[in-house]
Symmetry: C2
Subunit: 464 residues, 2 copies
């Protein structure tokens, strides 16, 4: 059996900590067994290792998450990278083509697809092993995992079993149909009928997915599918495959399962009341503070509250009200992200303002990871000043390369070709100035440092 | 009659908006009649103008508040500036010596001392006129204003009248003694006896204070007292004068009087629920947000809450719990102020961190007001890089002066003599780097731009 973990979604429900480049699964807010802070992705990967499944697992994701996944799970984690974000059906189709045409997996082998961040007991992952035998024993096209409901939730999708007698020995249910987000009364009825919560775990024989691709005229070769990825429909695996399948079974899982996708559910699993600089004072119970700002946050006399502060903003919410943040945050969108992690490192916006004479000024602190570089680029509408504050590297300006060290000041006029390469972890303070400061004002001449070196003349020292 | 308004105190009770350089009386959180935001100081000054007393008023303050008072009340406001902060007795003594030896006020003239920021009806200031006649009619040494209590508060000091029959026609009470912060039962008794809240308004003949100075061997000449100001005891006017006086009367004031010194009392008088960038969402009543950070703050489902955010920190408090902030904030002190207003302008800290190799890096955005300058100075332990982003000025470096404009980058190595003068409002981004970044690492060679120009050679352009 092979596993495909889907690592997707940007998610506004954990604003301001999650944003377009930082998905919730990467937030280090859980405590690991050794006491370190860990993310949801790290917790799941550790559990897969415990049950011996990590070596069979692949992670399907988008380009923007590659660095983060490698940083959190190690450089060896096998990734299947979508060329663009579409939906779960195209992502799983691409993964299937990769398993078949690159990894050489047999078409009869079982593939189990699951989310990268369920908050569950290790028993959940133990149970994955049974998906394989359920497919064999039932002859079904799909075998799902379903969570035994603990209350009549209106938030989840339900897997509804056939009214046929339950096959005790087989350990699986035959699925009749699916019901999304019923009201409470319907949910109670569904639970009476033995329905399970759909937790996004699907298993099938690899050949099923390949057949489906071929039937629709889509390629099964990974390389070819990669190039025509934009032709696949933006549709979920549930709609395209699961709901159309004629023969589906489900394995009931009785243990703990939680969706930590909102602040109230996430903070329930946080051992620490305060992460970052701050104080919870006086009569405050069930208060959680996650503070990524460098300044202190003081909470006084408030209970059942979550406070999350990041360079993007500050959320102060009654826990029960916090799931609605997704809707509220729309009202503050359109502002520039204040912190981003990128392929080459990260940056944080320190200040942005317009001067009295209409010029824009943007100040950033930028970190380039050792061995990485910024592409060789030109800005038409702004000049930049970089003050190196840490690390050593090489700076390319108008086809000449200069070694740089802390204290050096690099002036980049409008129109100048420039790049920088970090020999050790490098940091600088950047001041951008211009009439219009937009991320799109960039012409990339080449990407890798080897390419840049081939163009430029190396010099002994900084020219100034 | 002359008025002396005492503008003192730094005050932690409105943290994080008030700090050592920004006292609560300067926070622009109240709405003026024309709809603009105004501070408590501005509100009081407007009321004094209404009742014709502004032209008789002086403001006694410390050097750190001079620029702020002039900015908020206009450059013409007459200030009496203490050379150092001591207590209310020395401040009032200095003011008396100023009125006598500089302003030529007659020793028989009445001087009324009052706080710079009471939140009261204009009738309060109308009533100040009566202090003069009360002194004459009673022959008392001191005439106070007292506020008729509206409830048995445990927070205030009480002016307790003599049990003699009330002199209806005179309109004043003879004072027996003072009681500080009684418990509720005692407070009820005091109110029964006709006691008043002490609101810090004292009137006396100028000669009384001069006699007191002379009796103790302290000078009555302003210039001489200024030089020996450090010899005056650090003691309040209440202890040194009021409680020792044998003959004191008090005028009862029946109107509105509030101490807006804590977040719960201040927000009661704020017309706007949100000042700055932010949203109060959902079931939230009696919620106030004052946000000086450039990033959005979202409050969800919380009532009776005050949120105040500044570069120094974020307070999130149940209103009833908010007065205790004074004690809590001690636990986060010792951090560098993130925003300060100075004689020459202001600065805001954008980032402070230590690099992996133990160097410190501090990034500031600095504004110099047109016509002002930084002193000619040297730092021993740090170098600085200034990127000019707005305005024009003159930059002095090692005895040479260069004109500067937006886009110029000024590099100041350790040990270099430097200063800057703003011809128009000037702004720059400063990056400091060094092994130890402390405000004390500064040797000032001279202060005024005329002095600096006398030392330096003027040049045509920047050397680089």
């Amino acid at each position: 059996m092979k596993l495909v973990l889907l690592s997707g979604g940007s998610g506004k429900r954990l604003w301001p900590l999650s944003n377009d480049t930082r998905s919730k699964q990467f937030l280090k807010v859980l405590k690991s067994k050794n006491g370190d802070m860990q993310s949801m992705v790290q917790r799941v990967w550790g559990q897969l290792e415990e049950v011996g499944l990590a070596s069979s697992a692949f992670v399907a994701t988008g380009a923007s998450q590659v660095d983060m996944l490698q940083a959190q799970l190690g450089g060896e984690v096998p990734l299947i990278v979508e060329p663009e974000r579409r939906d779960t059906f195209p992502a799983i189709a691409l993964a299937a083509s990769y398993l078949f045409s690159v990894a050489g997996v047999d078409t009869e082998e079982t593939v189990a697809v699951l989310p990268v961040d369920p908050y569950v007991d290790t028993a959940f992952f133990e149970k994955l092993h049974e998906l394989d035998s359920a497919l064999s024993a039932s002859g079904a096209e799909l075998a799902l995992m379903g969570v035994a409901p603990t209350y009549p939730s209106e938030k989840y999708g339900y897997i509804v079993p056939s009214p046929k007698q339950y096959n005790e020995g087989a350990g699986y249910l035959e699925v009749s149909h699916f019901t999304e987000k019923p009201d409470e009364e319907q949910a109670k009825d569904l639970i009476e009928q033995g329905a399970l919560w759909n937790c996004g775990v699907f298993a099938f024989r690899l050949g099923l997915m390949l057949d489906l691709l071929m039937e629709n005229g889509w390629p099964v070769s990974y390389q070819v599918l990669l190039e025509s990825y934009g032709d696949l429909p933006k549709i979920s695996f549930d709609y395209q495959v699961v709901e159309k399948a004629s023969n589906v079974v489900a394995l009931p899982y009785e243990g703990e399962w939680k969706d930590l996708g909102t602040w109230n559910t996430l903070t329930e699993e946080m051992d620490m009341g305060v992460i970052g600089k701050g104080i919870v004072y006086g009569k405050s119970s069930n208060a959680h503070l996650i503070n990524e700002l460098g300044i202190p946050v003081i909470i006084m006399g408030l209970s059942d509250i979550v406070v999350a502060a990041s360079p993007d903003g500050v959320l102060i919410a009654d826990k029960a009200a916090s799931p609605a943040i997704k809707n509220v945050v729309k009202q503050v969108e359109g502002q520039r992200p204040m912190y981003e992690e990128r392929r080459w490192g990260w940056y944080r916006v320190l200040d942005y303002h317009k001067t009295d004479d209409g010029q824009q000024v943007l100040t950033k602190r930028i970190g380039i990871a050792a061995g990485r570089n910024l592409s060789y680029q030109i800005h038409r509408e702004r000049n930049e000043v970089w003050t190196i504050v840490q690390g050593e590297g090489m700076f390319a300006l108008n086809d000449r390369i200069y070694p740089v060290k802390p204290g050096d000041v690099l002036q980049i006029p409008k129109g100048a070709k420039h790049a920088i390469y970090a020999e050790t972890d490098l940091e600088f303070i950047e001041v951008q100035m211009g009439s219009e400061l937009i991320e799109e004002d960039i012409t990339r001449l080449c990407m890798t440092w080897d390419e840049i070196k081939a163009i430029c003349v190396q010099t002994g020292g900084l020219k100034s």
